[in-house]
Symmetry: C2
Subunit: 261 residues, 2 copies
Amino acid sequence: MNNLTVVKIGGNVIDNPDALLRFLTAFAGLPGSRLLVHGGGKIATQVAEKLGVQTTMVEGRRITDQPMLDVVTMVYGGLVNKQIVAKLQTLDCNAIGLTGADARIVLAHKRPVGAIDYGFVGDLDEVNAGQIQFFLRQSLTPVIAPISYDNQGGLLNTNADTMASAIAVDLARHDTVTLVYCFEKRGVLADPANDDSVIPALNPTSYADYKAAGAINKGMIPKLDNAFRALDNGVARVVICHADELGAAVTGGGAGTTLNK
Amino acid sequence: MNNLTVVKIGGNVIDNPDALLRFLTAFAGLPGSRLLVHGGGKIATQVAEKLGVQTTMVEGRRITDQPMLDVVTMVYGGLVNKQIVAKLQTLDCNAIGLTGADARIVLAHKRPVGAIDYGFVGDLDEVNAGQIQFFLRQSLTPVIAPISYDNQGGLLNTNADTMASAIAVDLARHDTVTLVYCFEKRGVLADPANDDSVIPALNPTSYADYKAAGAINKGMIPKLDNAFRALDNGVARVVICHADELGAAVTGGGAGTTLNK
């Protein structure tokens, strides 16, 4: 069993070059093997607007038609991914940028059309853990864009939180995996209006209580559902923290919110 | 010594989905290890136009300012690269899309400013042949976008012909390498106006004669200079052919123009 840290970094940090550099410096300095899954940030929406591609959101989710899939492939798979890789190289972290199609590392199917047709959005089927481990054993650090592969020639826009969780779970079969969600808050907040109200630890019971009280709501719920699912499926530790507190969160300095079974 | 085929595919083929699929089918069917270096095609110029990024050409070469570098990174490193990777996967070719920054496979420096300031354009320094061989030994097929890495956090727009030649030369230290330039003509033409005037074989003497007569001119000259340099530096065979004749060219069916020392 090797130690592996799977880190997800969100769009707000990617949109801020100084914050991104601080985060990448901490990421490069983590002990042991590590892997990064990144979101997209606002730049995809900006590029889409300039290209005349309309962004349709339904219930907070982007509908991905073919022109938007091309934008996402350009911006997440190209610009954001390669800028992160290039920066990590300067920090002595030998990064390799990948989508799910590259070496077939993340396979998915197009989400079935129900009440909403999300378009070219992927629901995950399979992570090629052996291939990812092969990169890790060669001291390469995978930097994975939130784009999966449908095994039939198609790329699919994929939620980065879900992708990080699925990768962490599959790698946990062989390694001791810590999964860290980094975002712009200092952790899960007991009071969304108070940035200092970080909940140090959550378990399924206290999570249910906070949800019932309305303290944990909106976008935090799918993030936490993903996170608890990872814990239930073999991931050793899950932490949700500010991008600036990655180092402390991983080395046990008490930053962020730690999830317990 | 393993056999390796390094193939460069140009932009005109990439711009034509049917031609690209025919080419990729032939590429996936090549015997032995293979590696693809792709150009960009017109789509970078189209995307740049829509984004309001001006394309400046000097002597047939694109000047790459920062906004244009971002476009190139998006389009070549993201859209074109990942579409090729996804398509190759359907053809049972386990492709992995890379730029020079990924795993530091192609290092370069920014071209010094002389009479012309080319901007963020890379002149190649070093190919990490060991890393590329490591992918090849794992039956992964590298698909390399024409973007190199300056070792200081910067990406650089790079001529795909030069990149293919440099990669072929460095891998030829260990493997028996065939380098194939695929484009929209059936080979090097004795008469540029006659597509059937393919020169079956060229050596430095006959090349000099054709140049002196003006039959070989313009964009063919840097391509052929790259190609002869590769032959002089250990590459076993260099062929220039139509994208539709890749299979015949590699297996010795007599397609295209073969260069000899």
